[in-house]
């Protein structure tokens, strides 16, 4: 139970019932849900026994790259979505927008509407900075010179892979999110290479193994110190932080969706398959509010139905096992309906071609014991012509 958010009103669903489909800021523990005024990028690796493909093309820092991180802070469990908003020769700009429920909580806490948070990372810092500012605050300057945010720098990665002890500075606010008392401290120390490893993520909806540099070391500030572990994408031009663990917190990237623009559209259903996970759907925290970043996926569905005029499909909602069964059941139904409604109202799909079902947590496709597993279990599926 989270006790730390005394000034944050609890107007969400009961404890451990904020099960969420791939979305953000899904708070899942405690009788109160914290307002995630800050976010931390974090990702996890999961069962290698599940079939995974190898990465074929690099992950580029390009506009509309969506990165979903599962975050465990204290006993609070939520997700964060970071979007590459724009890139230039000078900077890469990240965007974090607050979900509707976060705005509601902010208002209830007496705050004004929270504008989107953006963070500009200078190219020179992507090349050489050794400071990572992984926590985002409302009110932060857009530019924190000398730091990266959701990655380390090329120089740090290079130093690590050469076997050197590498100094880093890690700016985070450990512990449960609580914007009233939390503050971002900067932990210093050196890290060293543990091993080069393979790391599973959902890349464009496919379980994919990517190369990572696993590093560890002791970081400290004042009298507080601890062993930190990092898994950075072993891609010198984009060493994304795919996972970190420090002072009891874990942040793990569970999904990366690359932009569709300029790429050959992927078919939703594999040949001869009657069921497919619909990737690229993002919901607000513990709610059935679709985020705007879902539009590309919805457009793909609309295009598919336009191409196959005789098809009717069923939209299914699924949750992970965190929370109360009944609440998960309701949430899965509401989210399936939200997808259907969006397709009808904004993508001109005929209503009689869409039905919905909610399955709550009853049909997991992976373990619910890990951040990544839960992330995969929170999903929307489409079925077409499956035997009932």
């Amino acid at each position: 139970m989270s006790q730390q958010n005394k000034l944050i009103p609890t107007n969400r669903r009961p404890a451990r019932s904020s099960n969420a489909l791939p979305g953000r800021f899904n708070l899942r523990s405690g009788t109160r849900n914290a307002l995630p005024i800050f976010f931390i990028a974090k990702l996890c690796c999961f069962a290698t026994s599940i079939a995974a493909q190898e990465i074929d093309t690099p992950i580029l820092l390009e506009p509309d790259l969506n990165i979903v991180a599962a975050i465990r802070q204290g006993d609070v469990d939520y997700e964060g979505l970071r979007i590459i908003d724009s890139v230039s020769t000078e900077t890469v700009v990240l965007r974090l927008s607050w979900g509707e429920s976060d705005q509601t909580n902010a208002a209830d806490a007496g705050m004004i509407e929270i504008p989107p948070v953006t963070r500009a990372i200078r190219r020179e810092d992507l090349a050489s900075a050794n400071r990572i500012v992984a926590t985002f605050y409302y009110g932060d300057p857009e530019l924190l010179p000398g730091s990266t945010a959701i990655q380390t720098s090329t120089a740090v990665l290079s130093s690590l892979t050469s076997g050197a002890d590498t100094p880093i500075v890690f700016g985070i606010s450990p512990g449960p999110p609580n914007y009233m008392i939390s503050s971002r401290k900067y932990y210093r120390g050196t890290v060293h290479l543990v091993a080069k490893e393979r790391f599973p993520i959902l890349l464009d909806g496919e379980r994919t193994m990517v190369p990572v540099v696993h590093a560890t070391g002791t970081l400290s500030v004042g009298t507080q110190s601890g062993e930190a572990e990092f898994w950075w994408l072993d891609q010198p031009d984009n060493p994304l932080t795919l996972r970190w663990k420090f002072l009891g917190d874990t942040v793990q990237v569970v999904r990366i969706d690359r932009p569709e623009a300029g790429k050959k559209p992927r078919s939703i259903f594999k040949p001869d398959a009657c069921r497919a996970v619909l990737h690229g759907i993002y919901f607000d925290t513990a709610s059935a509010v679709l985020l705007p970043e879902s539009d590309a996926a919805l457009a793909r569905v609309a295009d598919m139905l336009a191409e196959h005029a005789d098809w009717s499909i069923t939209v299914e909602g699924h949750t992970d096992s965190i929370g109360v069964d009944a609440s998960n059941q309701i949430l899965s139904e509401q989210r399936a309906s939200a997808v259907r409604t969006a397709l009808i109202e904004r993508f001109n799909v005929t209503p009689d071609r869409l039905t919905t079902k909610g399955f709550g947590e009853t049909r997991p496709i992976e373990t619910n014991e890990t951040l990544e597993g839960r992330a995969r279990n929170r999903r929307v599926e489409l079925t077409h012509g499956c035997a009932s």
């Binding site: 208002a107 806490a109 007496g110 705050m111 004004i112 509407e113 504008p115 948070v117 953006t118 400071r131 500012v133 605050y137 409302y138 009110g139 932060d140 300057p141 857009e142 530019l143 924190l144 010179p145 000398g146 730091s147 500075v169 700016g171 009233m180 008392i181 939390s182 503050s183 971002r184 401290k185 900067y186 932990y187 210093r188 500030v221 004042g222 009298t223």
Partner: protein, 345 residues
């Protein structure tokens, strides 16, 4: 609207709480040598040498000394570097949990401005970087720099230092956080206390510009005896229209005048810019005063400023101010000049 108001109330509570936070070091910084009564290595004077600061603000009148507010105080939580001309630079250190202070500043920036306003840039567009992990410039002249969980604040409002010079001091201070200087505060405080007697004596403002002075300046007989205290003196000057008077309020701040002048000027400039931006859109920057500090008006003062709000001048760190808007500014200026001439009388 209701939501916005409640938000502001909430924020004000938050900000106030933040401002009340003690700057006193809660404990010695990690790695610092143990503090003793004679040589305190965790005090606010342990981060910058007199030489480093004097290179920026001019020759110091004595060793830097600890102060609570303005008066020298061996247990004070700030360190004051005072020049021979009574300009001063003030250093504060939060040894533990400095990060929460920065969080408060973040909140303030979030409420008041957008994120880009929090960036530290010189007028030429250069982004300021330094040995800090995060930095905020609050108001005109308070540079806050966080490293790890320790916060160094340098208030340079009372000096002529520019931002680049202040950054050099901030960097020097930050790099000394892990190994502060051993400083014996008591002698410096004693010396500063003895220098206090050289400052203008604090007394009733009405002694600075007497009734006779006022009548000579205005060439009129005052309606009543001037009345006031150590902060104000009120003069009722008859106007040409029968029965009407001008109530002139002469204000004096006996200490920290250079700083107050700079802060007041910056606030006025900011307010004027906001008004102009509301009227004409982004990008308008008119500057605030007709005669900003630094462009010297001849007179007995060290610094003088005239604006639509009134007349201000500083001499020997004493701020003299008349706030009567654009009316009778020549008279106001004469009152200010007379008060300054009489400071050491």
């Amino acid at each position: 609207m209701e939501r916005t108001i409640s938000a502001l109330v909430f924020m004000l509570v938050l900000i106030t709480t933040g401002c009340d936070q003690q700057q006193e070091p809660a404990e010695a910084p990690p790695g610092a040598p143990p503090a003793t009564a004679a040589a305190d290595a965790s005090g606010p004077c342990s981060l910058l040498t007199a030489e480093e600061v004097s290179a920026v603000i001019g020759p110091l009148a004595g060793a830097p000394y600890r102060a609570g507010g303005m008066p020298p105080d061996v247990g004070g939580d700030m360190c004051r570097y005072e020049t021979e001309t009574l300009r001063s630079l003030v250093v504060n250190v939060v040894w533990v949990d400095g990060a929460s202070n920065i969080s408060m500043m973040n909140m303030m920036q979030g409420v008041i401005k957008d994120g880009k306003a929090g960036e530290l840039k010189l007028i030429n567009g250069t982004t300021l970087t330094g040995e800090w992990d995060e930095a905020r410039l609050m108001g005109c002249c308070e540079f806050n720099a966080l490293r790890g969980d320790q916060l160094v604040t340098i208030d340079f409002a009372g000096t002529n230092a520019d931002l680049t010079q202040v950054v050099s001091l901030v960097n020097a201070a930050i790099l000394r956080l892990e190994k502060p200087l051993a400083v014996d505060d008591a002698p410096a405080v004693a010396a500063a206390q003895s220098r206090e007697s050289a400052r203008p004596r604090i007394r009733s403002v009405c002694e600075l510009v007497t009734r006779a002075d006022a009548e000579a300046l205005t060439k009129k007989t005052l309606v009543a005896e001037p009345a006031g205290d150590e902060d104000h003196c009120f003069y009722q000057i008859p106007l040409d229209m029968p029965g009407s008077t001008l109530d002139l309020d002469l204000e004096v701040q006996w200490r920290n005048g250079f700083r107050e002048m700079a802060v007041m000027q910056a606030a006025f400039d900011q307010g004027a810019n906001l008004v102009m931006q509301a009227a004409f859109g982004e990008g308008e920057d008119i500057g605030g005063s007709d005669n900003p500090a630094g462009e010297q008006e001849p007179g007995p003062w060290d610094v003088y400023a005239q604006s639509i709000v009134g007349i201000s001048a500083v001499k020997s760190d004493v701020l003299v101010h008349v706030e009567n808007g654009p009316f009778m500014q020549e008279v106001s200026s004469a009152f200010v000049a007379k008060a300054i001439e009489n400071l050491n009388r």
